[in-house]
Amino acid sequence: MYSNLLFNIFSTFLLISALLVILASNPVFSLLFLVASFLFASFILLLLECELLALLFITIYVGAIAILFLFAVMLLEFKASNLRSNVIRYLPVGIVFGLVLTSFFFFEIIKFFPEAGFELNIYQNNYINWYDLIDSTTENEALGHVLYSYFVLQFLVAGLILLVVLFGIVYLTNKFNVVKPGAQVMFKQLSKNISLK
């Protein structure tokens, strides 16, 4: 019963967050709701027993892509007022276009989910996987079994690749010995002894 309830809750919040991404006035709020929608998608994946994909969603989507958007918003300073100025004027045409373009799409997708005639109660799911109650392996555990035994060499080589990138980034983005010619080195100036004779 709980998995259905949780699925419905997370789906609702995912839809709300996705809608608020485009409806929010401040671009930082849009980003926040984008991160929230990624999170809820990740929770739904956890319910579907795809733990690796869920964690990958958080690592890559939130950790890399949302941070990329954050830097873009930070560097290009958006004026929030310009984005929300003319909504009422464009709303009727927008609704017409939206309905016309997306309704055909939805009519096709609905055909993929035919109704099951014998379903009693869609809010109560009575399926129990008995074997999983005794001996279940999560996806991460199974991947770990394979990754560190059969593919340990590839794992170590991936670590070496990250090491190369680390060397390169540290060298390319750091300025060493940044004493500007002609700049004053404070310590040297203060340690000079002056005698007034």
């Binding site: 080589v157 070496l160 190369v164 060397f167």
Partner: protein, 587 residues
């Protein structure tokens, strides 16, 4: 399921059934050098360690060569790391070659790093990791290890190309290399995923088992009525008893056989295939023996695997800078620091060709008819572009980049004949190419103009080596011998390798392509001989002024030129080694 003590983390930690000792040694030496050098360089002010470190890494690579020679497990012709690593003669010899030539590269660049202002130790560490990636690629048996090794080398190369971050040419070269390399990696992954979708495994030995029934190879001309089955049966009539099919046109032959067999069989789906006498290793003749037999894969899978294979091939062609994927290499070779270009031009090609050999001859051998089209067309285009593109170039590094494009075209021509002789000629050509490239690039590295403007961009031009014959006769003689060898003129060893490529083409009866390649080779001779002309016969009063050259590393140059000059007299010991490789490996 393999025993967990033989694979996995246990085998890495306890070194049981571990056959990658040289790579292990190099990886641990990288970590050790990092720790030691960070403690030294960042505590003592203004210390420059690049010369000592470069010589030390050269000695380390020679020790890795010694490890390779003395390793008994390397020649066991078995797989280790659960089929990821194959230990056969091909991997063994190419690993040794890569290690040895890398050691030479490190010895060569140690004196010239200071004048190029590349004195930070990270440069040499990244170079060492690139060499590690090349070594790992030589013995990889599956798509994942090959991809990781290619990525290790490529990422190191991007950093090496952009290492001089005060020069905009260097940064531009790095960005161009990065974008092109990222696209190439994406194509490789897409191709691998398509092949995985059809086969369920990533190992080349599994591809051999799944996609080619021993003794039968796929022929691309099919009739619409022919069906495929996924069951292998014992139906194997051979038609070559009383007729000789050696000079017959393959398509006519296939049609004849089709109608001959169609009368006899009604229900069993079959297919006309050709056997190359490759597996009959005692008899080294390469004539066609037609056989009718059944295929082991269905038509849709076949096309999808071909798409995957073509994507992987294109990715490797981009990395090898073959035309029409060569445009990045011209700018990258020109903009990178000269030591990085030396590494790109000399070292990266051999391992990629080893991967290509394993992929074409061991894994997907039954796709030869489709693959031959791609190999031949791209190879002859590379030869054409490399020959005609260098004609108008006056910048030395771009000229040598065009020359490298045409050389890779010749190598791919050697690989496109589906014979073992082709593989031998390819490896021989690559060995000779590496020797002549080291000689050329070392000479270019040694010559530095003494000019007053140290702030402007200094790119080496043809005019920089004008009248070198008067100022440094030995260096000019070495460079001209190398140029004659690259051009393919007898009595130097470059002639033997080029003749081998043309012989491979003639064996396969590709007469038109062979004549095109010969004509383009003649055209490319122009810009090699023009360098010799500029060295000796330029119409100037005086030559240029150079910085003096330290002589302790030029012994390497002398040794390489000695080999170029006198290998023509007796190249058979190289041929013996290469014969040994191709005979024993490639299950």
């Amino acid at each position: 399921m393999a025993d967990l003590k033989k694979i996995g983390l246990y085998s890495v930690l306890s070194l049981s059934t571990f056959s990658l000792f040289s790579e292990y040694f190099l990886a641990i030496s990288v970590l050790y050098i990092t720790i030691v050098l960070v403690l030294i360089v960042y505590s003592v002010k203004n210390i420059m360690v690049q010369k000592a470190l470069s010589n030390a890494i050269g000695v380390t690579l020679l020790m890795a060569c010694y490890l390779i020679i003395n390793d008994d497990i390397l020649l066991s012709n078995e797989f280790s790391f659960y089929l990821s690593i194959v230990n056969d003669n091909l991997g063994y010899l190419t690993k040794f070659t890569v290690c040895f030539f890398s050691a030479l590269v490190f010895f060569i660049i140690s004196d010239s790093l200071q004048e190029q202002m590349l004195t930070s130790f990270e440069y040499l560490l990244i170079l060492l990791l690139a060499v590690l990636g090349l070594m790992l690629l030589c013995s990889s048996n599956d798509l994942l290890t090959a991809y990781l090794a290619i990525e290790l080398t490529s990422l190191s190369s991007y950093l090496l190309a952009s290492f001089r971050n005060t020069s905009s040419y260097s940064v531009e070269a790095g960005v161009k290399y990065f974008i092109t390399g990222a696209i190439s990696s994406a194509l490789f992954l897409l191709g691998s995923s398509l092949i995985y979708a059809c086969s369920g495994s990533i190992f080349f030995s599994d591809f051999w088992d799944l996609f080619s029934y021993p003794g039968t190879y796929h022929f691309s001309w099919i009739d619409e009525k022919a069906h495929y089955v996924s069951v292998i049966t014992e139906f194997h009539p051979r038609f070559a008893t009383d007729k000789t099919f050696e000079d017959a046109d393959p398509r006519l032959l296939a049609e004849t056989l089709y109608y001959m067999v169609q009368e006899q069989t009604t229900d069993i789906p079959w297919y006309v295939a050709f056997v190359h006498d490759l597996l009959d290793k005692a008899n080294m003749s390469d004539s066609y023996v037609p056989t009718v037999s059944l295929l082991s894969i269905d038509k849709d899978s076949f096309k999808l695997i071909e798409v995957g294979m073509v994507l992987i091939l294109f990715s490797i062609f981009i990395k090898l800078s073959l035309a029409p994927f060569h445009l990045w290499s011209l700018d990258v070779y020109e903009g990178s620091p000269t030591t990085s270009t030396l590494f790109f031009a000399v070292m990266t090609k051999l391992s990629l060709f080893v991967f290509l050999i394993r992929f074409s001859y061991s894994a997907l051998y039954s796709f030869n008819d489709e693959r031959q089209f791609y190999f031949l067309s791209i190879a002859i285009l590379s030869v054409f572009v490399g020959s005609f593109g260098g004609l108008k170039q006056r910048k030395l590094k771009t000229l040598l980049a065009y020359s490298s494009v045409s050389h890779m075209g010749y190598c791919l021509l050697a690989l496109s004949g589906v014979t073992l002789f082709g593989i031998r000629i390819l490896l021989f050509y690559l060995l000779v190419y590496m020797m002549s490239s080291i000689s050329t690039w070392f000479t270019i590295l040694l010559l530095r103009l003494k000019q007053s403007l140290s702030t402007s961009k200094y790119s080496k031009e043809l005019g920089d080596i004008a009248l070198l014959g008067k100022s440094n006769a030995a260096l000019a003689l070495g460079l001209s011998i190398t140029m004659f060898s690259i051009a393919g003129l007898p009595p130097l060893i470059g002639f033997v390798s080029k003749i081998g490529v043309f012989l491979v083409l003639l064996k396969e009866k590709f007469y038109f392509i062979c004549s095109l390649a010969i004509l383009c080779s003649v055209v490319s001779t122009f810009y090699y001989i023009r360098i010799v002309k500029v060295l000796y016969f330029e119409n100037l009063l005086v030559g240029k002024l150079y910085y003096p050259i330290k002589t302790n590393k030029t012994i390497i140059l002398s040794a390489v030129i000695f080999f170029l000059l006198f290998l023509f007299v007796n190249p058979s010991f190289l041929f013996l080694i290469l014969y040994n490789i191709v005979f024993d490996s490639l299950y």
